[in-house]
Symmetry: C2
Subunit: 343 residues, 2 copies
DNA sequence: ATGAAAGCGCTAACAA
DNA sequence: TTGTTAGCGCTTTCAT
């Protein structure tokens, strides 16, 4: 192990003071080209590396952003995280990753992020912000941006769930379907609740009566019901309806749609010949199986969240914004026009 | 924003010296129960939070581990990362995530991780370690463990690719196939090269001649060829062989297998009725589509890597180990016994 | 058992 | 332009 080399060693070797070394390291203007060159040479030669934590202590900021994320069984998050990671890196920040497996862990991860000096900003994914946290945020003066989540006084980046669900359902209606089922996740999840709303609105604005028994949720509550099994279970319930079963479905996430399709195939239904389906998310999987779905621009959402956080970091006075992306219909192979047997 | 509260404030409020405060904070034995109680009370009351970076500077270690990971378009990594994240958290370390998109970024991320004091250890995923890095690792005295990668003098956790590929191929042979194709990734990737070896060995130890034209790689080189398109392309090549096309395939990753299956279906082949296929990895996707595959225990690999790093952190003198997991065949729905038309 | 004091390696204000 | 010095907030010796 090489003896630790600090700015003192550099200063001595270059025959200057540590202040000067620090200045060239930080690109301060007040250094003659010659001294600068000399110091730089020594820095290179001795392979000097600044001590990050000493810098952070002295500078009073951490150059790091933490992401608190419901841990990624869920590809939706992975995709967002990619955007986050790349943007953070390109801005010269560090990314500290905190995974939470359930709501009870949220507070402890927040506490970690709130330690003085530890992170400059926090990115918070998808979960409902614990109420007790918000005042502490203000107190600590740490900016936060929410992704796929909403809180009045905090910046947020999310998706227009209502509109997306509306469009998806509307697409099915335009294909000629009247009886359209919905497979939803748990209503305690805001996106799920909103998507239900959009579905309902689309129905009603087309003069179709909303029927509660045409909306089902699986019993598996993992990931708030956004999981394959739940989709499978819900579809099994529909299949039990027999002749009453809808011929078209809007499903609140691709992953559930996959489970639903599996249930269908196992029971001798073909997609889209016998039933049409549109999902939500457009995870990579969706293109693999040719699922028609509503695309959320996940990567971009991640990028933009970081951008926003950075902006707020340099100007804390910024007004709160709530950016929402409009999901976009991606037509692939799971829908077909309704048979003309009058609705 | 609350005035920063430091151990000085605590000390004053509790009527003790800062040394004592530090001692109770760090659970040093030499404190009377009474003083300890008093200090603790003040700490609670004033919501004291230690300044992480000051601690790290004073303690000379960072309590953080960095993971350098070819960024996760690839679910294989996500799964490993889950194991890594949970284990790191449970050990009380922080996880600093560095994504690299191509080999040229590896060095710069390493440089970041090598900054004195910045991280206590490094987890390095899947890519070939740049040669210039290794000496610098020694120099910095930072322990590293490799995941899904190998270097003689460094701890590594990986998968027995040769054996896995052997078993997969053997399974197909036992099903009665003689002409078995392989869809591989780029040979510059060590896992790909090893899997080819295993495939070849299985053939030869069963008296089947290895034929180079039965091994194909797609042209898409993203992720070293471990991607869906490459699998699709390779299968298209096989399909062009017409009657010469094998009826069974070993594919070097699940994601490629998915592409290959798509190509097959598009061209009127059914799986497994017309062609059998076994993949490699067992990513979540595999179970969704019922792919028979070789399972790599990804989550566990991540966990174990962290465990090992932690062990080495507390005892740097540990001997180098190379832990290898044996992939396990998961039989699902993409293989069937060969038709008895004599080979 | 406890307080005082000396670092940890850096930045930034202050003189010169 | 440059060197010197005083912090940043903590840990850890060293006296007491």
């Amino acid at each position: 192990m090489t003896p630790k080399i600090t700015i003192y060693e550099i200063a001595k070797a270059a025959g200057v003071g540590i202040g000067t070394v620090s200045r060239v390291l930080n690109n301060h203007p007040n250094v003659t080209p010659e001294t600068r060159a000399k110091v730089k040479e020594v820095v290179m030669r001795m392979h000097y590396q600044p001590h990050t934590y000493a810098q952070r202590l002295a500078r009073r900021h951490s150059q790091t952003i933490s992401a608190i994320i419901p841990f990624f069984t869920n590809y939706f998050f992975v995709e967002i995280l990619r955007g986050v990671q790349e943007e953070i890196t390109s801005l010269g920040y560090d990314l500290m990753l905190f995974g939470v497996n359930n709501i009870s862990q949220v507070e402890s991860k927040f506490a970690l992020s709130l330690q003085r000096g530890r992170v400059d900003g926090i990115l918070f994914f998808s979960m409902k912000l614990p109420d007790r946290i918000v005042p502490r945020l203000r107190e600590a003066g740490i900016p936060v941006v929410l992704i796929d989540s909403y809180y009045p006084k905090l910046d947020s980046i999310s998706v227009a769930n209502i509109d997306g669900a509306y469009d998806a359902t509307n697409y099915l209606i335009n294909l000629g379907y009247q009886r359209i089922g919905m497979i939803n996740a748990l209503l305690m999840s805001a996106p799920a609740a909103e998507r239900l709303q959009g579905y309902r609105r689309a129905l009603e604005s087309n003069g179709i009566r909303y029927a509660a028994d045409l909306v089902k949720t699986g019993v598996n509550t993992k990931q708030d019901g956004f999981n394959r099994e739940a989709g499978y279970e819900a579809m099994m319930e529909f299949i039990k309806m027999g002749a009453e079963m809808p011929e078209a479905f809007f499903v609140s996430s691709d992953i559930q749609a996959l489970g639903a399709i599996a249930a269908l195939l196992e029971n001798g239904f073909r997609v889209p010949e016998d039933v049409s389906m549109v999902g939500f998310d457009d995870i990579e999987l969706a293109s693999h199986v040719g699922l028609t779905t509503m695309r959320q621009p996940m990567y971009q959402m991640g990028q933009m969240a970081v951008e926003r956080l950075a902006a707020r970091l340099s100007d804390p006075g910024l007004e709160v914004i709530h950016k929402t992306f409009l999901p976009e219909l991606v037509v692939r192979g799971t829908c077909r026009r309704a048979k003309v047997s009058a609705g």
